[in-house]
Symmetry: C2
Amino acid sequence: MKACGLVVEYNPFHNGHVLHARKSREKTGADIVVAVMSGPFLQRGEPALVSKWTRAAMALQGGIDLVIELPYAFATQKAEIFAKGSISLLEYLGCDSFCFGSEDGRIEPFITANNVISDQSAAFDAAVKSAMDAGNSYPASAAQAYQAIIKNEGALDLTKPNNILGKEYVSAALTNGFSIRPYTIKRVAAGYHDTDLSNDSIASATGIRKAIHEEQGKSLDSVSSYIPKPTRIGLEQYLSSYRSLHDWEMYWPLLKYRILSSSLSELAAVYEIEEGIEHRIQQMAKTAATFSQFMTALKTKRYTWTRLQRMCVHILTHTSKEQMANTHLPAYIRLLGMNNKGREYLHTVKKDLPLPLISKLSAFQKQDIEMDIRAAQVYALGLSESDQASLMKREYAAPIITK
Amino acid sequence: MKACGLVVEYNPFHNGHVLHARKSREKTGADIVVAVMSGPFLQRGEPALVSKWTRAAMALQGGIDLVIELPYAFATQKAEIFAKGSISLLEYLGCDSFCFGSEDGRIEPFITANNVISDQSAAFDAAVKSAMDAGNSYPASAAQAYQAIIKNEGALDLTKPNNILGKEYVSAALTNGFSIRPYTIKRVAAGYHDTDLSNDSIASATGIRKAIHEEQGKSLDSVSSYIPKPTRIGLEQYLSSYRSLHDWEMYWPLLKYRILSSSLSELAAVYEIEEGIEHRIQQMAKTAATFSQFMTALKTKRYTWTRLQRMCVHILTHTSKEQMANTHLPAYIRLLGMNNKGREYLHTVKKDLPLPLISKLSAFQKQDIEMDIRAAQVYALGLSESDQASLMKREYAAPIITK
């Protein structure tokens, strides 16, 4: 059986994701499609709208055969680490290929970009540093540096978010000598950050989340044409079980408490907190009344919004530099859900897996995946007391099995 | 000018406190009465009903001339340390005497108890240990041990809460060679823990709080005959400004978050967490929906309710054993409020004070009283966002001055 891997967040799973899965299957000739999906906190430093269980269930109903969790140590990270964790897991799971959506749509420019940047790494790094010293964020600096090095037509545009991620996926596969083969398909219609719902049936997850938030998470009418029916039902069931979708504001009292009850040196020990920004974080937390006010006050040109939000996630989940120091590569494969084909595939690769496969948490495994359990626990604390208990019960139950 | 010191919590200030101040003044012949009052968190491990500023204002209107803060490092502590901090501050402030209410009402049995226990400390400690090993709490064991050593009639009954505290006040004065002189008056009518409001005008603070909680902090009708008018007005103003009185339940989401996002070794580093109780704390926090449920699940014969609640306060305020290790004696005198006589007294003793007098927080002083500021900040987090800001503004303002 040939498997194609997808790196996903599914926040939430929408029509563009259905298309991505279908086209990836066609393009790679795979028998099954495996998704490595972020858990409760996402790459942009935000809590997912709904739990990973609900998102995995939506994916299984939308054409994905097997869903595994991208551990916290990789999910809430800059593109390079995020990609390394995801592609490693797909390689370890025996996938023949992975396929990502990009603004470019051709795989060659990604391979070229990887080769050029690794061949001329000293020049590239120096150009990035000089752009950052001029006050630019890392992504903007990297894009500038690449443009300065490679001047030919048709080169990869590294100012585009999916191209950036894609370049890191390709680099993760090539530089680690993995056998997994990269493919890309052109993203349809909606850009990653597009927030208007214009196309008939495809919209970005960002646009869909914005529309849901504008209706205060109460109605899904404005987004129903952009999401498969199971996603709509899944979101509605989540709302009726847990009474609200997750957003940063629901964690603001906890984040504020953690920031204001920590010493500066404790904040400085949190992962990604650097260059004295702990002073600014503590100062701004004192007067902000909402997470949104806090972020607006905190933002400077030096840091992207995303990077600041990731710092906030690490503060909230109490994740230190020391804890992150031991997480260079994934140490386990956590199963969230599968259908019959996914199960069949897993059966064929099981004996050759280089990592332990975790299908249900036990006391023994808890130590290894402590960071993921803590993230799940903190994520649950955004809900009411009774809902916390039922979500955490799910965390200890068996994976989702569908036909 | 002669000053008499009182050790108080005023939670809230009631008719019994008016009587205590008046009788103390008469008995000691003092010109002014100084109260050393606990800040936001109290000896029993509970948040105060209202802020220290509101409680200081009530006291000034009820006959107290000068109010200083008992720092967090002494306020949320077992009787011995609580007493040492309080009596030291009164001594340093130049008080000639202190006067406490007790069930006994005579000062001699307190002096005898101090002398007997310090003369026979080895026998006393052994008797305490053996009672504790039998599964009793410290206070019960100490009372048993004292009864075993001293068998004469009329000896101090150390099962009574105010006698226990009084014995520690007297010991703090005598064993440190202080010149301050101890006095006691017999408590009127209501026992410390009495929760029914039976006497016409005197009730315990515990009873008053219980009655307020039963009316869900909305009405003060049932307690108005037990509190002076300024206390009623103060509580009403607090309710109208801040919309609620403080109780443990309002901090439960923060406490639960802190417990569940901390590692066991981090919990074990918290002050007073000992003998592996961190395991039990984390276990019980997972399933409890309220602070009250949590405490009920946590309680064992080994620990008093009070001691467990103090552990919770230290977890909530993030106070470590390491931080507490450097706080054997008060290092500053923080002024909360005064009337003209209090100000006059302060003027006469000011030049001889052995400790810095803090009347307004500045950046320089912040380091020294970091623990108190953190306690005030965490206490404020129980309120709504806008109320937090106004309470913290008060923290940085000048002391209360009345005529």
